[in-house]
Symmetry: D2
Subunit: 337 residues, 4 copies
């Protein structure tokens, strides 16, 4: 931590700051510049947690030097993590594809879609049973019934299953039926839910919030891991910007940034990011090209009648073509699909 | 709802769309332009809920004409709502001030602050008992114990009390102790929590999400009201932008926009918006000047040692001065404080 | 300037950085933390201008401590500047109102509007003769002819005149006719134009760019001042965000932030910020309430037929009412109008 | 164009709007809904250019149906354009790489770099002679001298040359020396410069503004083309968002969006977008994977001593490796490098 004093700060003000630091058992290193004085603080900064040094006289600002996240930080865990979901491994050697409908609508629909995504090569079937919807008048999901269909689809086609959870009750239900749970973008800073997910015992896919910086995202993952669950996978799904041609702006830079800052795997969801099915395939390829460990893709047997997010869903034909096209990119990335 | 066809759409494609609309029991009005054909849809658009018309051949886009929120919409409720919290009324004739610490730290702290904010003229004491914090290693709140202190402070000083809730359990506890609950920015689209708040029986302060458009915010309020609770007050607290001089960017335009779109009262929180105490007073005055129905202000007996958000808290002296300065603005606004 | 080393940086890497600093004639102050080493650099950092220290082995990042703008910086010029335009002073004691049409359309229109804004109490008539328009097919302005009308309106009604310039030619023409020139948001980082404006001899109103941080804005002002022209007034006119209810998001926090960082006056343009006339008056009052030194307001004799930005223009009646309403706010601000 | 009336608009108000439309020689098609009435306008909407219909009584809003850009619009030019720069073609069959230093620093530096980028397979050498810099105290470029070195480098190594222009004078100089000119992000809406570039006779690379929507970007291109120059190539280089891990947020979705809306080629500049050299290669591959027609990459012989943007420049070694790695992606894209 570095403390920057205001220009013209009198010696007495600098002394006061120094004194506080030393009193708390840390070291203060002064650099007296022509314009400003800066004070480097050495030691365990938690000892200063209850001091708002920026409010002391003549203090200009505090510059943090180390990140607040530890367990997700690559600095203390240089090797990339490999998250196991049954016999599927999400990590640096594989490309994991999670595909399926935005919402589980009925048993037949899910089974039809699951059969297809398996055939095309996906390892996971995804499907929403609890739907966070902007309007209270939109379809809100089948809840536990939907989870049962997920479990059945998983068993029948040898697929891993993943479902979004939006409450403690949803987690309690999900643990009984699916292999992995997902925290959605709108709940990325629902810290209560993060802690509960951390105690669920299931691997967690943590989507990036629409307005979340990468540091806040890693701090959210820290909540899950610090609750005892190291099996976290990140998912970039677009951030909110001024551009309206796409629903959100897919931030593919987040892939190499996460690879540099964290050991956690990161997958990409181009369906929710763009909201437009014709942009999904080019961006899925781009995600693999820049190092993503996997993809989440919305696939529907009849997008024109999907109860949720039809316009961004791939038809079976488009999904088959994407999976075929991806082969070359997966190979160039030195991964296996 | 308007359907815009692509240029060169053949008559057969237009016919198909028209047919679907008519089949569903609605009317289709065609406008055949030189470049494009548009189709106005008349009738209850819920009948088209399961049809993703944008995926039909040669359809370019769908343009919604009416808002998805109804109960919060001024069009159907032209008079401004007055929300009663005991004998305090939040609405067009008053200026309601909610003041207090970011976090309830202990009984003595809260009682000291409550006494002061009462003396300075605030109607509510605010204080966080459940703190949503970016890092899991920051202070997370006193929980139910904090609520008890809130109740005591309210009784002792004749103040209304408001507390943020972050889970169903927190709501269950809050109902026992406080007069109003708050949904924080990070939970604005925690739809489960919105529904639970809607069933709590208490008036709800709904903060705007960091990345929420005004329409999404009104839709979030719609969740609460449609769960049976019409007593909703909105709170603008800054949105996320590229500017870093302030923690968020206070969007004061939201005040006149909300006044035009909705009948719900709106208050402004300049403390969280800016994160810097010296910007709080000017923006508090600005909020009153542009029509806000109230203010939420962080006040602390010892900002330099506050456990949360000290740098944005006003000292007693600064808060007293602000309350005195506000008098003129409240009068110009034709309100009473 | 502070250099932060990566965790585990070997002593040899730290030595190399230290050596470079000393070789360049500066001092290096080491703080050896448990996790990381930081190096405070003391002396004239321009000596390091050609060294990209962040690329040296084991360097994590560089943290600048001082701002890159000097002439606009309050630290070196603590008193607020008063910019004189003839007998009008823009600064801390006055509230300067610049009003008029978005575009000068013809002589009669401008004279009619100038007469009205004078009567209502404005000190400046504004009017665009060179219009930067998003589409090449929109009205682009009357150019020099428009400037002549501006000069005439100024003379006839005793108003100061201000006009946007978009090129060196426009500046050459403007100097002959108007009292102050304006650099628009889209040209805020047209550095060539800034330099030319700096050499024009006229006071300059510098609008904030749609995506400009406050620091970049002050750096843009630095271009003008360092070209020899200290008479710069800043104008906040909305930044680009995800919100679409208003054309841009008016960042009123910029007013107190600028007051803290710079000595330059700042005015606010709620017309361009919102794009909607009914939001202009509330936000104009808010601007005065939070400390703005002036306002720029679009006024039109017939908004329904304005060639540019009609929807955001006030009618004469609305402008009169705003000017009357402002009196109270100007008084509370301790200014004179 | 669609006009949406407010709920409860009386027939007389609707009649007035209809009357205006008919008077102007267009057709009005009414759709009378339960809540609102909408009016489709058929005919040449330029006839309504001087009417601000949104200001007529009871008009709620205007919804544009067609884009304001014509010459850049794919609807009227379905085939992708191929822009020829000498014997290099930028378009759907090729992958064009423009590489070189951010700034031309001296003759030797440029020749060294040009030799290397040619050897590695680039078709263009890029290099800034006129540098738009945030601070007036940063290096501003060698100007015409720099252009001469560019011309020499082009001749000597058989490379096409491209240089940014920031003023009419710079364009006049550039035409004498280089093969293609570039309009930078900060000048994307410097409409004067766009027109001058349109008259220069040289092909133009138009970078996207930091806060520009894709529609505004295409409108900016429309300025150039409508000035008589159809040879425009777009360049995505990152937009401004709240994320700070990268200098800007590279919006790769813009690639498929542009391919759908326009016939113009689009290339991607990951160097300026990220500001960090280690993110350049993954994002360059991603750009090719999602359909970009080319890349602009900063390469420097000695990034640690570059006068501008050293931290984002690739060393020769890194650039060689990138060019080798790209081969596979170019092949998958069905292009030639």
């Amino acid at each position: 931590m570095i403390i920057v004093m205001k220009p013209g700060a009198p010696k007495s003000a600098v002394d006061k700051v120094e004194e506080l630091i030393v009193t708390k058992g840390l070291e203060a290193h002064l650099s007296q510049g022509k314009e400003v004085t800066i004070i480097g603080v050495v030691g365990n900064k938690n000892k200063l947690l209850n001091e708002n040094i920026e409010l002391m006289p003549f203090v200009d600002k505090i510059v943090p030097v180390t990140e607040s996240y530890k367990l997700t930080n690559k600095k203390f865990h240089p090797e990339p993590s490999r998250i196991k979901v049954g016999d599927v491994e999400i990590g640096p050697d594989t490309l994991t594809v999670m595909a399926g409908p935005c919402a589980v609508e009925n048993e037949e629909q899910l089974m039809t879609i699951a059969r297809e995504v398996k055939k095309a090569g996906a390892q996971f079937v995804r499907g929403g049973a609890y739907k966070p919807r902007t309007s209270p008048y939109s379809f809100q999901g089948l809840e536990e019934e939907g989870l049962k269909y997920m479990a059945k689809a998983g068993r029948e086609f040898g697929l891993k299953t993943i479902c979004e959870v939006i409450s403690a009750e949803a987690i309690d239900a999900a643990v009984k039926y699916v292999d992995m749970i997902q925290i959605g973008a709108r709940n990325m800073q629902n810290f209560q839910l993060l802690r509960e997910a951390g105690q669920s015992g299931l691997p967690v896919l943590l989507k990036r919030g629409l307005a979340a910086t990468i540091d806040e995202w890693l701090n959210a993952a820290e909540y899950i891991i610090s609750a005892g669950n190291p099996n976290v996978v990140l998912c970039e799904r677009g951030i909110r910007t001024f551009e309206t041609s796409t629903r959100n702006t897919l931030d593919l830079s987040a892939v190499p940034v996460i690879k540099e800052k964290s050991h956690l795997p990161i997958i990409v969801d181009p369906s929710h990011a763009t909201g437009v099915y014709s942009y999904v395939s080019p961006l899925a390829k781009a995600a693999v090209a820049c190092g993503a460990d996997g993809l989440m893709i919305e696939v529907h047997n009849d997008p024109a009648h999907a109860l949720s997010d039809g316009p961004q869903s791939l038809t079976f034909e488009n999904f088959d073509r994407l999976m075929a096209d991806l082969q070359g990119y997966v190979k160039l990335a030195g991964r296996t699909l």
